[in-house]
């Protein structure tokens, strides 16, 4: 876990072998995470299927997010945020390399209902 006070765009490398996940905050009910994607995508044919709900916002770069129950990907720009209900299958089709894509994700524990 990195510091609870800092700068979201600090220490972003120029390239990464895999996406980088930094936990900013962890409570019993939620986890706040910075994700750095530099041209990364979910491997072909794979889908995320998460036990908990997730609220995610893209804050730098560009990305394509696809839900299994939608025909087309959603093109995300900085400031776009998306609600991903538990077990709603999704994948990241692509992310920008320059600048890197920087996301802020709030993961809610399973059973923690959002109103």
């Amino acid at each position: 876990m990195i510091s609870k006070t800092g700068h979201l765009f600090a220490s972003i490398p120029a390239a990464l072998p895999a996406e980088q996940f930094d936990t900013l905050l962890q409570t019993g009910a939620c986890r706040l995470e910075r994700i750095i994607s530099i041209g990364h995508a979910t491997p072909p044919g794979e889908w995320y299927d998460q036990d908990g709900d997730e609220w995610v916002i893209l804050l730098q770069g560009r990305a394509g997010l696809r839900f299994a129950d939608e025909d087309q990907e959603r093109k995300l720009a900085p400031g776009d945020y998306v609600w991903i209900s538990a077990h709603r299958r999704h994948r990241v089709e692509w992310t920008s390399q320059n600048p890197p894509a920087v996301w802020l994700a709030l993961h809610l524990e399973s059973g923690c209902d959002a109103r």
Copy 2:
């Protein structure tokens, strides 16, 4: 509450009589909020003293944040985030008008310990 999917920088007015607070997400344990400040500041001599912890990030504009236990204000730029423990007295000294200051605040319920 506004939609759980959207754009953080949408519908930002040019001026506001008072700061605007939009709840993006509400669970039993946490509340995610967008705050728009357009030149607003905490009234002179007043301090926030909150029952729960707060994690807050500035995502547009500039702001000065002062803690009662610190001599100098912290100057915040987009991407700067700050942890505000419950009952740590603080105030917003100033915010930019052009562009407006846009914050994302995660409020944790009292008793919801962050690790």
